[in-house]
């Protein structure tokens, strides 16, 4: 999958030829130099984080030495495995739930005719305009009323229905020819089989976008866990790390940063394997 990183973005194949005569090689070099500085400023803090986590201060001497001590220390200071497990559970179930419900609803909005379709789809889209911070108080009260306060389900259940995912999957199914369904019907497939064996597999790339965006969002989210979770045994990784930093103060920088590095690994894997769907998904809302 390394190709996802090395291929050029669609349409940006070659630069316009206009600058060739005026600027020449010197202008290009200056531009590249500016971009090298920008890339340094962008990646610098990440590299510094990795470097500092790998060179913790020695307790007695105050010297920095290379080693994995800080990484071992994170697991001593905080139940890192539990944090990762909680985050994985929330992220995995949110992503799976969003993929399933968005595929189903998107399919119906794209391929089925029924009364009230336009109105219902409009309502689904309208919910995208409402910022989460506005609904969080009533959602918290609802969750509390359902007896789910301070559980991981408080983060999972409200996050499964997804207006954006439904919109994205509808667009995806609209792009698949209607004739596929008719052909399947002629072959005797019922509507459920038509969906599961014909359309759903073809929509896999769209589903990947929904899943990757859900992963990226829920693995990193901080606001909802901060509100919904009270007990440390339910904390997710970002909440656990911020709490750890609060407990340790500024004494063990390397330990906290080791935790940050660990928390970046899954995001990095997704960034490398799913670069293209991630880019497409992030910018999808702006095209239509």
């Amino acid at each position: 999958m390394a190709t996802t990183l090395s291929g050029p973005l669609p349409g940006v194949h070659t630069p316009p030829t206009r600058t060739r005569r005026e600027r020449g090689a010197l202008g290009s070099a200056a531009k590249v130099a500016v971009m090298v500085v920008a890339a340094f400023l962008t990646l610098g803090p990440v590299v510094w984080t990795l470097f500092t986590a790998l060179t913790p201060l020695e307790a007695g001497t105050g010297e920095r030495s290379f080693g994995l001590g800080a990484f071992a220390d994170v697991f001593v200071q905080v139940d890192m495995w539990l944090l990762v497990w909680n985050s994985a559970l929330v992220t995995g179930l949110c992503a799976a739930g969003q993929m399933i419900t968005a595929a189903m609803a998107g399919y119906v909005f794209a391929k089925m005719e029924f009364r009230g379709k336009g109105l219902l789809f409009g309502l689904v889209l309208a919910t995208m305009m409402v910022p989460m911070q506005v609904t969080i108080v009533p959602v918290f009260l609802l969750i509390r009323g359902m007896g789910l306060a301070d559980t991981l389900l408080a983060l999972i259940i409200p996050a499964i229905p997804t207006a954006f995912g439904t919109f994205l999957m509808r667009q995806y199914f609209l792009g698949l020819p209607h004739e596929l369904g008719e052909a399947a019907a002629l072959d005797g497939a019922g509507p459920f089989r038509t969906f599961f064996s014909i359309f759903a597999p073809l929509a896999a790339p769209g589903l990947a976008i929904v899943g990757i965006l859900a992963f990226n969002y829920h693995w990193n989210e901080f606001f909802r866990p901060l509100i919904m979770l009270i007990s440390e045994q339910n904390f997710t990784v970002p909440l656990g790390l911020v709490t750890l930093q609060g407990n340790l103060g500024t004494g063990s920088v390397a330990t906290v940063l080791a935790g940050v590095v660990l928390s970046m690994i899954p995001a990095l894997v997704v960034f490398i394997l799913g670069n293209k769907p991630l880019r497409e998904g992030l910018t999808a809302g702006s095209n239509k």
Partner: protein, 316 residues
């Protein structure tokens, strides 16, 4: 709002597009599929978005701390927003933040998106694009932890570098101006890549022959940028600025982790006050009122986008 999600009344309708040859059993199955597949999304959005919107509006007219009975107070919660110094400061902070951060974000993103189009090896272009986009995949909370160390006034790397080149050290997180600067920088650092992606896409859709034609007419560099790139990119610029404004209006993670809103109220934002009102002071009515005002502002920005796009934006 619940009527919206009740599937039964329309369930009897046969799908219009179904050919007449389709057997009855299949038609019934299609109807089943339609509502079964819609149910999780419609019920879920109904319960966790629509109902909370209504709930939020109702709550805004009450004073309630969860423990005692809610007390109807009319518009008092909204009136308090105008008089409460913390709320007022938090909104002013948010507006100021949005103006500076979004301007910076758009400028940096546009500058780099134009630069990345210039002549260079393909692998280098891919590297730059990936680098600028990378911070987007990180957690804003973790990033803020890292930045809090980097900008630490006593031992942070930023002040060490300033000292090394004989510049005065700055009380980054301990002075008002320093803390505001750090919150803006950290936010823009993480989010400019998104705007950058939008601009790269927008620039790619400008037909190259427009540039070629203007080159023949003698237009170059900056002139081309002003006369061609900017006008043809204006739909993208508009969408990108609205998305950036809406997202910046909701800033929370960075100031919460970096400064907890301090020093004083210098970096307290609107969403931070929602959080503190509801979950620290148990003022659920006031939190809802602030949330509603924020939503109205966001809807206003979106509406403005539609108006502006009709008046100012050039479509090719």
């Amino acid at each position: 709002m619940t009527a919206v999600v009740a599937p039964t009344p329309a369930a009897a309708e046969a799908p219009k597009s179904a050919p007449t040859a389709v057997p009855r059993a299949d038609r019934r199955a299609t109807t089943w599929l339609t509502w079964l597949f819609l149910a999780p999304t419609l019920l879920g959005l109904g319960l966790f978005t629509m109902v909370p919107i209504v709930g939020s509006i109702l709550l805004a007219f009450f004073r309630w701390d969860i423990i005692s009975d809610p007390q109807f107070v009319g518009f008092a919660n909204f009136a308090e927003l105008a008089t409460d110094p913390t709320v007022r400061v938090s909104f002013l902070n948010t507006f100021g933040f949005v103006v500076i951060a979004v301007t910076l974000q758009l400028a940096v993103a546009l500058f780099l998106a134009v630069l990345v189009q210039s002549r260079m090896p393909a692998w280098l272009r891919t590297f730059f694009r990936s680098a600028f986009f990378f911070p987007l995949i990180l957690s804003a909370a973790s990033v803020s932890l890292v930045m809090a160390y980097l900008f630490n006034a006593e031992f942070g790397l930023v002040n060490q570098v300033l000292a090394a080149i004989n510049l005065p050290e700055v009380g980054w997180l301990t002075t008002d101006a320093g803390a505001i600067t750090v919150v803006i920088l950290v936010y823009v650092w993480q989010n400019f890549g998104f705007t950058f992606l939008l601009f790269v896409g927008g620039l790619a859709s400008i037909p190259r022959d427009v540039y070629e034609a203007s080159s023949i007419d003698g237009a170059t560099g900056w002139k081309q940028f002003r006369a061609i790139t900017l006008p043809l990119l204006s739909p993208t610029v508009l969408v990108a600025s609205v998305m950036a404004i809406i997202s910046a209006l909701q800033i929370f993670d960075q100031p919460y982790v970096l400064t907890r809103g301090g020093p004083g109220d210098a970096t307290r934002t609107a969403v931070m006050v929602i959080f503190e009102s509801a979950f620290q002071q148990l003022e659920f009515g006031r939190a809802s009122a602030i949330g509603i005002v924020l939503t109205l502002i966001i809807i206003g920005v979106t509406a403005l986008q539609f108006r502006l796009s009709r008046r100012f934006v050039f479509y090719s």
